[in-house]
Subunit: 316 residues, 2 copies
């Protein structure tokens, strides 16, 4: 099965795109996003969605002019409207005192957050690296599941193809792409996993380790889905001020594992807090809920406050 058919199946199987959707492809000019752009362009009539593209100049390194040029040329050829943005990532990193990689990610999501439905060009190699990175750094089942195929307005239509397949697709179709040199900089942990650890494991331990990690991630996703069955129904719609209030006695009735999943659902899916939340924070919130004493509160990273009041638990 070629890349395009695989992506077509993947989109349908996972319900990534519905008829009438307005999809914005996030493109960097690299092979993954250029292949994605071309494939989505070809599928748009059949699957009944409209396509535009969004490009952000990070201003981190040279060569972005060439990237942007490639994106402009191909959007022109495909007749796809392009929104180009700029972010001064080095200034952002200085201001927020984070690393360049982190700041670039932040800037990218800020830029993309304005669009209705965004297609990201992550491939299955990225998924393998993400899963292995999470395993090594320390994670639970959620991190083991890797990047989701779909979260909110973000979809990953080429997560079913390897980087080599997407490159080959570009070459076969005569589609130009730029090479991001920062991908080979082994100062980034992520790149060290890609360029040193994974090749060593493939050579000395298991040549099929990529497939093994992808299967494990799939198992974790299935397991999580089964464990989370009905959890989302316990979370009422958020208030106008963005806070979420749960029924404390309902939450107390859950097993420990499901209570954690409930807290996780509120934090991630409702309050958008993904990072820096560890087991101690879960324990603090779970303890608060189990104790159920009115007026008690705890503060989590990113300024999230959790308060117990009269049989309810309020996250804000």
């Amino acid at each position: 099965m070629d890349c395009r058919d695989r992506v077509r199946h993947w989109i349908i199987e996972n319900g990534l795109i519905g008829r009438g959707d307005r999809i914005t492809a996030a493109v960097s000019g690299g092979p993954d996003s250029m292949a994605m752009l071309s494939i989505l362009h070809q599928l748009s009539a059949e699957l009944g969605f409209s396509l535009s593209a969004a490009y952000l100049d990070h201003r981190i390194r040279k060569g972005t002019r060439r990237e942007k040029r490639i994106v402009e040329i191909w959007c022109g050829r495909f007749g796809i409207p392009l929104v180009a943005g700029e972010a001064d990532v080095p200034a952002l990193a200085r201001r927020e005192k984070t690393g360049l990689e982190e700041a670039a990610r932040e800037a990218r999501y800020r830029f993309l957050d304005g669009f209705e439905k965004v297609a990201l060009g992550h491939n299955s190699d990225d998924q393998v690296e993400t899963v292995l990175h999470h395993i090594i750094r320390g994670t639970g089942l959620r991190g083991l599941a890797g990047m989701p195929v779909m979260r909110g307005r973000y979809i990953r239509p080429v997560l079913c193809c390897t980087g080599a397949e997407l490159k080959a697709y570009c070459r076969a179709g005569g589609i130009a792409y730029a090479i991001d040199r920062s991908n080979s900089d082994t100062a980034f942990l992520r790149n060290r996993i890609r360029h040193r650890l994974l090749p060593a494991v493939r050579r000395d331990f298991n040549p099929a380790v990529d497939e093994a990690l992808l299967r494990l991630a799939g198992n974790a996703r299935e397991g999580l889905a089964a464990l989370s069955d009905g959890i989302a129904d316990l979370v009422p719609a958020g208030a106008a001020d963005g806070s979420v209030t749960l029924d404390a006695s309902l939450a107390r009735g859950l097993s420990e594992h499901r209570l954690y999943l409930l807290i996780d659902t509120v934090l991630r899916d409702r309050l958008g807090v993904f990072r820096d939340i560890g087991r101690t924070h879960f324990n603090a919130v779970a303890g608060l809920i189990r104790a159920g004493r009115s007026g008690k509160r705890t503060t989590l990273p990113h300024g999230v406050r959790v308060t117990v009041e009269h049989g309810s638990v309020r996250f804000e």
Copy 2:
């Protein structure tokens, strides 16, 4: 907390030993099992269990005379009855056409299967290596959970201590131990993980990767326990001939994930089939159950036959 107190808590927390239990410690003469022997000896009066030891000479390599001598001396000092056995592992490997490691494992379990309740000396480093080995080789949540603290008559009381802690315990107590040279033979995949991969990951990626893997295994165990909730109740007692018969309509009513766990429970916990069962076999059995056509059957590895007859599914 020192090793002995940790083991004490571990035994109580996991319900490994009950009052009146007759525990047999499987000892090799190495530091892990010698420390376990001494700790169990000290705890036996307080926790109310009796203790004996079992030693198997594998006849794989030289130096076993010294191992056996150490075991005999210390069992004598502690006043612990010792059962010593012998297995011609090289001959067994030739006869069954397996590797030496595999044959030794087989011989060990045959020898130990005769005892009422057996304590195995695996430590937390072994657990880390097992989990990483499973991840690299390819596994689902079950393999990710690592070695169980307790399975049937087997318990692992020192799984909460590192190898270094158990060695230090022996040294502090003046307890002799033998070093198993085969542990440093990197021809074994397991040893390559121990001696090459883990040190490289600790050095270049995360010095706390051991804890990260142990936490992940704990999460997988909790997740599996939550997913398996009530599954064991669906499996009736086995017949006198060792076969297990399920109600097909009850099995058909389960979600895919829980149906797999049900099949896994029958195969592992009832028929004792652990290895060589892959996703295709699960799919075959699940398909048989879903189709529910009388007289249909499939054959799994290790000669297990699964037959659908008149609304029931028979495993034999």
